[in-house]
């Protein structure tokens, strides 16, 4: 078996020592620190991302809270405004209704007054007409000229019997 031939034992050991030592020192000083820095960098990056994600989440939650608060506030405000408008509208309506009522009442009373006045006027006219007609009729039949005063006296005294 060539393995047991001691001819090259020293050579094997020498070159093994040379190459393994070189490999060990090279990996220890060059390769492994490189991989180490890469892994560390990655871990740092992951940690950073995680922490910033947490921060963002917190910020998002705060913003959500703010939004909810504002929504609630807005709801309350709108409710109040709706109530206010309903109230003012009701007041307006009632005031306008009352003013309308007043107008109508006034108009009604005005109309009543006018009717009365015109009634009086009509009555006066009727009295005058009656006086005229009476005057004319009396004049034609009897040739007596009646003065207005006399006629009026007669008419006023007999007023009840005309109707």
């Amino acid at each position: 078996m060539p393995q047991l031939n001691p001819e090259f034992f020293v050579s094997q050991l020498f070159w093994l020592a040379v190459f393994f030592t070189f490999l060990f020192v090279f990996l220890w000083r060059v390769s492994l620190p490189r991989i180490d820095t890469v892994l560390e960098k990655r871990q740092n990056k992951i940690d950073d991302n995680l922490s910033s994600a947490k921060e963002l989440q917190e910020q998002a939650m705060e913003i959500e809270k703010k939004i909810n608060n504002q929504i609630n506030k807005a709801k309350l405000e709108t409710d109040e405004k709706i109530k206010e408008t309903i109230n003012t509208l009701q007041k307006d309506v009632s005031s306008q209704l009352s003013s309308l009522d007043k107008d109508l009442e006034k108009k009604v009373s005005d109309a009543e007054k006018e009717i009365l006045k015109s009634k009086d006027d009509q009555m006066k006219n009727i009295n005058n007409e009656i006086a005229n007609i009476t005057k004319l009729t009396v004049g034609k039949i009897t040739d007596i000229e009646l003065s207005d005063n006399e006629l009026n006296k007669v008419i006023v005294t007999n007023k009840g019997s005309f109707n």
Binding site: Q3, Q12, W15, F24, V30, I35, L39
Partner: protein, 244 residues
């Protein structure tokens, strides 16, 4: 069988250039060449793939990181926080054995891990290092490692020698395990390769198919033995910290 056809011929060492130093033959051989290729592959791969140091790794960089994490995990599982200091050594050991085995799987390439002197040297470094570490950590108390607590006193005369022998045989078991696995696997491949040529007509296809399957198995064993070498090193380091 003639010597040139022997399945063991693949393990013969051929000097590429003869060098002598202080009366010792330190020729640069095919074994040394395989070691050089192994070291070059490891250093170049681990350096070039991580060259960009990108946070989002390329596929090649990911392989380097996976190897790094594999050994780092192994060390932290077996030794704990103390193990971080030995990471470069265990990682170098694992990569050296793994790539050495893999380089050996390339046809016509030499497998230096199939040489007992190489594996024994690696195992001896581990054994001596761990023993020194044990004495640094525990001083003279390290000898209590051989004393098993909770055993009837009359068993100790029997158990302590067993413990000592098992401790001393660690480098042998560690080195022979790797050496024997590599030797057996490569010899088997060569034997079946001989059948491919010597069998009549097309029947040579069967040993050829067997070689293909066996190559897959050998690649698995190449990885497994590197892993076993690394994990046993980790366990020995752990023993140097925790006496029972």
């Amino acid at each position: 069988m003639a010597a040139k056809d022997s399945p063991l011929k693949q393990f013969e060492i051929d000097p590429i250039s003869n060098i002598e130093f202080g009366g010792y033959n330190i020729s640069f051989t095919n074994s040394s060449f395989a070691m050089m290729i192994t070291v070059l592959v490891i250093t170049l791969f681990l350096t070039l793939t991580v060259n960009t140091r990108s946070i989002i790794p390329s596929r090649m960089q990911l392989i380097s990181e996976l190897m790094y994490n594999f050994i780092a995990q192994l060390l932290s599982d077996t030794v704990g926080d103390n193990g971080k200091r030995y990471f470069p050594f265990v990682f170098s050991l694992f990569m050296f054995v793994l790539i050495g085995n893999m380089v050996g799987m390339i046809p016509y390439q030499f497998t230096f891990t199939s040489h007992i002197i190489v594996t024994f040297a690696l195992a001896a470094v581990v054994f001596i290092g761990v023993t020194i570490l044990g004495f640094i950590n525990h001083g003279i108390k390290f000898f209590t490692f051989f004393y098993i607590p909770g055993v009837p006193f009359y068993m100790h005369p029997l158990l302590i020698p067993i413990e000592v022998i098992s401790y001393l045989s660690r480098p042998i078991s560690l080195s022979v395990r790797l050496f024997a696995n590599m030797l057996a696997g490569h010899t088997l491949l060569k034997v079946f390769a001989g059948f491919v040529v010597s069998m009549p007509f097309f029947t040579g296809v069967f040993p050829l198919a067997f070689i293909v399957a066996l190559t897959g198995l050998e690649i698995l064993i190449a990885f497994l033995q590197a892993y076993v070498f690394a994990i046993l090193t980790c366990l020995y380091i752990n023993d140097a910290y925790h006496l029972h």
